[in-house]
Symmetry: C2
Subunit: 226 residues, 2 copies
């Protein structure tokens, strides 16, 4: 895969709490320059990023209920609605891990169904962040069943702030539990070209990382070596 092809797999991501609007602007410029799939930014920056990315191939992805996921469903729905109104084309929604740990699968499932319908009614993609590194195989399997029933576009491994980051093994497990039409986004701790290649080989279709530019430079260096 050449660097241009590789770039299309990246969500160029900036989600640390003290990020600045200038960093968001730089992120958008880099995403255009390199041809990344999307930028992934906090919902307060959706409007400005949408203006910067208008007419380009780069989508605006934002996070909902990030990073703990335990806000009320109504709060998440409102955050999602506002983000879509302001130009988000992709919503990365955090699972209510607390409800899952409490055995309240009804909330987990109902919330995802509501958000998925809401997103798809506006032709917006939805990715479901499940913190897969914190789940048992049985919980993972249940989440994949719920994701399939709801009809999400992606299951995403991690927020990058709570549980462990993405591993190729986790991606393969998710891939084995999910129907083919649901993609896997690997995220959390992706910093090197080798990691990126392993995650893609394991079946990830999108990579969320703050290190996309560095990884692409690694790929370019590798491509130009004799």
């Amino acid at each position: 895969m050449n660097p241009q092809e590789l770039a299309r797999f990246f969500d160029h991501t900036l989600l640390k709490p003290e990020l600045t609007s200038r960093q968001v602007e730089a992120l958008c410029a880099e995403a255009i320059q390199h041809g990344f799939a999307a930028v992934c930014i906090p919902s307060c920056y959706v409007r400005s990023a949408s203006v910067l990315l208008r007419g380009t191939s780069v989508s605006v992805a934002t996070v909902i209920g990030f990073p703990f996921g335990y806000g009320s469903t109504k709060g998440k729905r409102a955050e999602a609605e506002t983000a879509m109104e302001e130009g988000a084309g992709e919503l990365d929604v955090v699972i209510n891990l607390s409800a899952l740990r409490s055995g309240n699968w009804e909330l987990v499932e109902s919330e995802l169904q509501q958000l998925t319908q809401q997103a798809h009614s506006r032709k917006c993609m939805i990715k479901w962040i499940i913190e897969s590194g914190m789940l048992t195989p049985e919980e993972l399997r249940s989440c994949c069943r719920i994701a399939a029933d709801a009809g999400v576009d992606f299951v995403k491994t991690a927020t990058g702030f709570i549980g462990p980051g993405a591993t190729a093994k986790q991606v393969r497990t998710l891939r084995s539990f999910l129907p083919p039409q649901i993609a896997v986004k690997a995220s959390g701790g992706i910093r090197t070209l080798t990691q990126a290649q392993e995650l893609l080989a394991a079946g990830a279709s999108r990579l969320g990382t703050s290190s996309a530019v560095a990884i692409l430079q690694e790929a370019q260096t590798a491509a130009t070596q004799p």
Copy 2:
């Protein structure tokens, strides 16, 4: 101060992402038993905690935009509205630290004013979490001016998940910048009776901690020693 008097200063708090509904139930029972001021819980648990605490002196406090604070203002407002409808009597709202770091004081101020009016129109208290340990003295002063203009009930030091926890020095600084009608809630890393006493002596009127029961037991032991 005897242990009963001390108890009235505590927000009995449970905000880790993997908390369970049973832990919230236990938290509420402990808050009634010890006479804490409030429980402080995620917004998805406001309804159940309100039922458990009905008819007691314990308030339901919940967090809005927690812990990163960079969600859209509309999303925060909706989360706040739902929480108040479901029984919250106190809202602990996280500052948009990213906007502050970007010099976008207009957003910081406008958001707080909107949320404060919204809370007070429902006779709900509002505490503003400012991550004081991450701010310069000048930023702290500006935040205190904004808090005073908005008319919040409390300025709260920290989420406990991002910046450093509460110190007596920080509480004294906040106290010196704030008008007397605005109280200070100290939070983040409060685990011992000595810390609690120092923070109260420095001018805090409320203490947010997951260790309130242990601190109270320390106080009871100290009170019964000859």
